[in-house]
Point group: C2
Chain length 370, copies 2
């Protein structure tokens, strides 16, 4: 991949690091390629092409293919929500679902509540749309990852949950990591408790593979026609091929068994990375995640995070800048950062954290010298 | 496909007609499934999955995969434009490229020039965004299909071309059917003559298959970073799998040979449908298209077009309502309609046009009776 088109120096650095086999990747939050079911997807593709009329290659309707919407609705019903297949719109990944929901739920310039730390591409989108980010106790709508937050890996507290339900504002519920709660707890979605104002976002990116770009959006009944029309306006429809492949895969494999494997797999990786951090950087603290792909680190010093990242990449390790996840970033506070255990070979975790520790010592020293 | 989610009665009718094997499909404008290279795409998929790191299944960068952008840039250079791979952004089909371009080129409420008849999903999008549709001699920007217009199948006149170049407004150039000019004429794109203000839109939907949702947008250099950021905001990136499949297909097959086959194929179908219409509905007029998928019909009476369509579907034939293509629709004018020769089995054209003629006679009679 070329990096000449990257919008800023940090983006260029991140791309360079991602492209280099020398750099141990603790940034990015990508799912493990070891868990991509390649053979099964190839078989699904071949089967999809044999179907009469080749719906996998032809145009489809803006709301997406029905069998997939039936499957999604059924799973949400199992978690307590009253959802029919017709309530589901297939999107080009979760990000498009968030973008559509934000457009439906809020006017430009309106305040939107987000968790103190949240998904950077959603925060970026809201800022681009000139929505004002507020705490969960304010805002005309809220964006949340209540089942498993990115970056913290934690569920929303029941107190915050109760407050949000009482406030009666539209809720954009990003459920991207819900199936990757390590204990296999199927949390009750906001969609079950506030169906008239919840925009529920889901995706196959974390549990199957992101390159398929299969996500979905469930909107309140009253917004359904508007949502389908908007989906048609922005790109006509989601990828027919990817929908057909996912549908065929789900019809022929035990997805719950797959989820059990993934949970154990990522939990083991979380434990290995945790151990390495505790041992090598004992002053850094974090809660062991309840699910997801990452550790959300609290450090004990305030350094220039971009220079820290540059140094880390020079040492041969990458991480994600804490500031990109924060609703409100104060440079005088001790840094935060996100470390991903999902993607990199775990036998490299110890060496990766050692390199990170060297870069951190350098960054702390530089900060003190100024 | 379910029709319960369709936004209005006409949409429900169109969906019902599309789902019924009894209805001869002269509406819709879909490419022929006979021309989908299924085996070749399946082989491309299997090959893509074997690549190290499975980029076909993993996240990618917002601008899309480089090999595909290299191919697109090269083809545009062959048509006279100065384009590098980094100028190209892969989109989720041409519609997303149009939506991104409209967002970059115009503010809400601004006037946008369009041809008298144009692509309905673009017109719908502009109306949703509250852009005001104007003739080509006005507007703060223009949206055009200069190589092969949909629905007319004709190229933009050189007079209109010169006027637009002289006006110096941003141009959204929709090149969707350019490769399907029957004579194989590779027209010079606006991108070659006005690169500083042309948003060039292309797609694989007409020449390979639409279900892959592989389109692209070339933006003026000065808008590039903003365009990539917006693409990231709306859905992170285009489908990795589809990009890998298309790239592999293009690397291993002669695309120009494919285009020659397609041109002959669609031209023959155009001739067969033209003949049927001339014979059975001699009062209807149209220019034989220079390319594309459709005939753009001028009728000789003003009828209620929705009731005409209902009657046609009851007779067992579908077509596309002329009003959806028109910048300005006057119900007192003789109706227009679009007939597609691209999708339906051509041995059904004669019978399809007979059914259409019965519905038309009924509609004209009903109009006179009121």
């Amino acid at each position: 991949m070329s990096d000449a088109t990257a919008p800023d120096p940090i983006d260029r650095l991140i791309r360079k690091a991602a492209a280099s086999p020398r750099v141990i990747g603790l940034g990015g939050g990508l799912p493990s390629e070891k868990q991509f079911p390649r053979k099964e997807l190839a078989a699904a593709f071949v089967a999809a092409l044999k179907r009469q009329g080749s719906p996998a290659l032809q145009y489809g309707w803006p709301e997406g293919q029905e069998p997939l919407r039936v499957w999604i609705a059924r799973r949400l019903r199992e978690r307590g929500a009253t959802v029919a297949a017709d309530d589901v719109i297939i999107t080009n990944g979760a990000q498009q679902a968030i973008a559509l929901a934000a457009g439906l739920a809020l006017r430009k310039g309106a305040p939107i509540a987000v968790e103190d730390a949240s998904y950077p591409a959603a925060l970026d989108l809201f800022r681009s749309r000139r929505l004002r980010l507020t705490s969960l106790s304010e805002g005309r709508a809220a964006y949340l990852m209540p089942a498993v937050n990115n970056p913290s890996g934690m569920a929303l507290s029941s107190a915050a949950r109760a407050t949000l339900l009482a406030r009666r504002v539209p809720l954009i519920e990003d459920d991207a990591y819900a199936d990757l709660n390590f204990a296999g707890r199927e949390s009750r979605p906001f969609l079950a408790d506030a169906p008239d104002r919840t925009y529920h976002v889901g995706t196959m990116s974390k549990t199957l593979c992101p390159g398929l770009r299969v996500g979905w959006l469930v909107v309140p009944h009253s917004r359904r026609q508007r949502a389908v029309k908007t989906k048609q306006d922005v790109d006509l429809q989601a990828n027919s091929l990817a929908q057909a492949v996912v549908d065929h895969y789900l019809s022929n494999h035990d997805f719950d068994a797959r989820l059990r494997v993934l949970r154990r797999f990522y939990q083991r990786r979380a434990a290995r990375l945790s151990e390495a951090v505790h041992k090598t950087l004992p002053n850094w603290t974090f809660d062991f995640p309840a699910g997801g792909f990452c550790l959300w680190i609290q450090t004990d010093a305030a350094v220039d995070e971009k220079r820290f990242l540059e140094r880390a990449v020079a040492e041969g390790v990458s991480f994600d800048l804490g500031s990109t996840f924060l609703r409100h970033h104060d440079r005088r506070e001790p840094n935060r950062l996100r470390l991903s255990f999902s993607y990199e070979d775990p036998t490299k975790f110890t060496e990766g954290v050692r390199r990170l520790a060297r870069a951190w010592r350098w960054a702390v020293k530089s900060a003190r010298a100024r």
